[in-house]
C-alpha cells in the first residue's frame, strides 16, 4: 500500500498548490480539527471543509471555511 500523497503547502508553489487543492482532500488543522475539502474557492486563502473532528463539537459534521495558515496538513 502506497502512502497517501501529502501536498506541500509551503515554499514558492505553496499558494498555487493550495489554490488548486481538489475536493476530497483530507485536511488537518493546527487546532486539532480534521475533515475533507468540499469546495475550493481558488482564492488562495480558504478551503471549505466538512469536519469529522473539531475542537468545537458543535461543528462536527458542519462545513466551515478554513484559512490557509490554519491548515496543518493536506493529504490526498
Amino acid at each position: 500500500m502506497t502512502e497517501p500523497k501529502k501536498y506541500v503547502l509551503s515554499g514558492p508553489n505553496g499558494a498555487d498548490t493550495f489554490r488548486n487543492l481538489p475536493e476530497g482532500t483530507k485536511i488537518a488543522t493546527i487546532y486539532g480539527g480534521a475533515g475533507e475539502i468540499t469546495a475550493n474557492p481558488g482564492d488562495g486563502a480558504y478551503v471549505l471543509v466538512r469536519f469529522t473532528e473539531h475542537e468545537n463539537a458543535a461543528l462536527v459534521g458542519q462545513e466551515e471555511y478554513v484559512f490557509f495558515n490554519e491548515v496543518r496538513e493536506a493529504t490526498e
Binding site: 474557492p41 482564492d43 486563502a45 480558504y46 471555511y65 478554513v66 484559512f67 490554519e70
Partner: protein, 466 residues
C-alpha cells in the same frame, strides 16, 4: 454672492435656478460642494441601474457595477439563485474586496486581512478567526456582512437598486415610464421573452460634470443637427448604420402628429417618444446596415403590431425616440446608456446593449456592430457629443464664467398636461421640457430631508418649478 449649500434641507439651493427666466446657474455644474451634496441627496436615494441578469446566468456569477461614485458587486447566489448587490468595500478596513470585472465565485475574499464573504454577503471567515491570540471567538460575523443595497429589483431582466430603504418601489419610482422601460426590454416582437445583453459594459471616461450629458442627452434634439453634422454629412447615419432609412421619413414629415417630447416634473423622467396607437406600430422602415437584419425586424414588427392591436402603448424608444430615467439613465430598445459620476469634473459613461435571446447570429451581429460603432469613444456618432460635453466644463468653471447662467427656456410654457401621456407634453421634439423636468426633480431631491418629502407624488405635492 450665492451661499454654498452645506446642510440638507438648506433652501438656498433654490437660488441657483430661475424659473421665470428659465435659467440654471453654472455653479450647479462646477461646484464640488454641490457635487458632494448630489451624491448624498440623489445617488444615495434614487433607483440606479446595475446591469442585466443575462450577464450573470449561473449560480455564483458576479459582475462589478457602480452606483455613482461607488462600486458594487452584483452576484447571483449559489443556493437560492437570487441576485443581490453589495458595496465593494470590506467591512473590516474598507479594501475593495473584488478587483476582477466579472467571474464565478464561491466566496469573495479581501486581499488585505482575508475577511471573506459568501454570495449572500455574509461574513464567513477571517484570517486568524480561530486563533486564541486573535479574535478569540469574539468576531460577531453576523453583524459584519457586506453592505447590501436597501432595495433591489429585477425588472424584466434589468437590475436596479437603491441605498434608501424608504424609496418607493421601483415601479412607483418609474411611474408611467415603467411600462415604457418594459417595452424596451422586450424582444423585438413585443414578447416578454427576455434579452441577451452583449458583455461586457462599454465604459469610458469623460472630463465633465455628470449633469452635462446626464441631464441633456436623449432630451436635446436641437443639438443633433449641429453636433452630429459630420455623421450626417459623411452619410454615417446615427441610428442603425449608414443606410439612412429614417432620414427619408424625417425629411418627408418633419413633425408627425404622434411625436412628442415629455418631461415629468414630479418624477424627473422624460424624453422623446412616439405614441403608438391602434392599429399598432407604424409601418416598418428599412434602417439596418448589415444584410438580412431588416428582414428579421420587419417580420418581428408585424408580429408586434398584431400583438398590440387595440392597445395604446406607453411611449418608448423604438422607431420614435428615447427617454431618460432620473437621474442619469438613457433608455432605447435593447440598449441602456448611463452616466456614473466620479467627481465634479469627471463622469464615466457605461453602455449595455443586447437583443432577443432567440435572434439568429446575423441579427445579433448586426445589432452588436451597430452598438460598437455608434457608442462611446469610438462611436462615430457619440464621439461628437463627447467633445461638446467635455469642453462645456472648463469653459464654465472660471470665476467669471461660473457667475453666468445656462439657458433652459427653449419651449418653456408651451407644453401642456395630457391625459394620455405622463408629465408635461410638447407636441414636437425641439423643446427643453424634459431637461427642465429633471431640474424640477433635482431641486426636490436637493431640498428633501427624506423620501417622505419626495413621494407619494401627487398634484398637491407638485414639484414642477417652471
Amino acid at each position: 454672492m450665492v451661499a454654498i449649500i452645506r446642510a440638507r434641507g438648506d433652501r438656498s439651493i433654490r437660488d441657483y435656478i430661475d424659473p421665470e427666466r428659465g435659467t440654471v446657474s453654472r455653479e450647479l455644474y462646477v461646484n464640488p460642494d454641490i457635487f458632494e451634496q448630489e451624491m448624498e441627496q440623489i445617488f444615495q436615494r434614487c433607483w440606479l441601474f446595475l446591469g442585466h441578469e443575462s450577464q450573470i446566468p449561473n449560480p455564483g456569477d458576479f459582475v462589478i457595477s457602480r452606483m455613482g461614485t461607488e462600486e458594487v458587486i452584483v452576484v447571483r447566489d449559489r443556493k437560492d439563485n437570487q441576485i443581490r448587490a453589495f458595496l465593494n468595500s470590506c467591512r473590516h478596513r474598507g479594501m475593495k474586496v473584488v478587483r476582477y470585472d466579472q467571474g464565478n465565485s464561491l466566496i469573495f475574499t479581501c486581499p488585505f486581512h482575508a475577511w471573506t464573504y459568501d454570495t449572500t454577503g455574509r461574513l464567513v471567515g477571517a484570517g486568524f478567526q480561530h486563533s486564541p491570540e486573535a479574535y478569540c471567538g469574539t468576531l460577531p460575523k453576523e453583524e459584519w456582512g457586506l453592505a447590501e443595497v436597501a432595495q433591489f429589483k429585477n425588472f424584466y431582466g434589468s437590475l436596479w437598486a437603491t441605498w434608501d430603504p424608504k424609496a418607493p418601489s421601483f415601479e412607483d419610482y418609474l411611474g408611467p415610464f415603467a411600462e415604457s422601460l418594459r417595452h424596451c426590454l422586450q424582444s423585438s416582437d413585443g414578447v416578454d421573452a427576455g434579452l441577451d445583453m452583449f458583455t461586457p459594459f462599454q465604459r469610458h471616461r469623460l472630463p465633465t460634470n455628470w449633469k452635462v450629458p446626464g441631464f441633456t442627452s436623449v432630451t436635446d434634439l436641437t443639438h443633433t443637427a449641429m453636433t452630429h453634422r459630420s455623421a450626417s454629412a459623411a452619410k454615417l447615419h446615427q441610428d442603425r448604420g449608414s443606410k439612412g432609412g429614417r432620414d427619408r421619413t424625417r425629411n418627408a414629415a418633419p413633425f408627425p402628429m404622434n411625436k412628442y417630447a415629455i418631461g415629468d416634473h414630479n418624477l424627473g423622467h422624460g424624453g422623446m417618444c412616439t405614441l403608438y396607437h391602434q392599429p399598432g406600430v407604424p409601418e416598418y422602415e428599412e434602417e439596418w446596415y448589415e444584410e438580412g437584419v431588416d428582414d428579421y425586424f420587419r417580420e418581428a414588427t408585424a408580429r408586434k403590431s398584431k400583438l398590440l392591436a387595440d392597445k395604446i402603448m406607453a411611449p418608448h424608444g423604438w422607431g420614435g425616440g428615447h427617454f431618460a430615467i432620473f437621474p442619469s439613465v438613457m433608455v432605447d430598445s435593447w440598449r441602456l446608456r448611463w452616466w456614473q459620476p466620479h467627481s465634479v469634473g469627471v463622469v464615466e459613461r457605461w453602455t449595455l446593449s443586447g437583443i432577443d435571446k432567440t435572434a439568429p447570429k446575423h441579427v445579433r451581429d448586426g445589432v452588436r456592430h451597430y452598438s460598437e460603432r455608434f457608442n462611446g469613444p469610438v462611436g462615430f456618432f457619440e464621439s461628437d457629443d463627447m467633445e461638446n460635453w467635455n469642453y462645456v466644463f472648463p469653459a464654465s468653471q472660471g470665476a467669471r464664467a461660473r457667475k453666468l447662467d445656462y439657458f433652459f427656456a427653449n419651449g418653456k410654457g408651451l407644453g401642456k398636461y395630457n391625459d394620455r401621456l405622463p408629465g408635461v407634453v410638447f407636441n414636437g421634439s425641439y423643446t427643453e421640457e424634459a431637461q427642465r423636468a429633471r431640474f424640477s426633480r433635482w431641486l426636490a431631491f436637493m431640498e428633501a430631508n427624506s423620501w417622505d418629502d419626495l413621494y407619494p407624488v401627487n398634484k398637491s405635492a407638485d414639484h414642477r418649478i417652471w
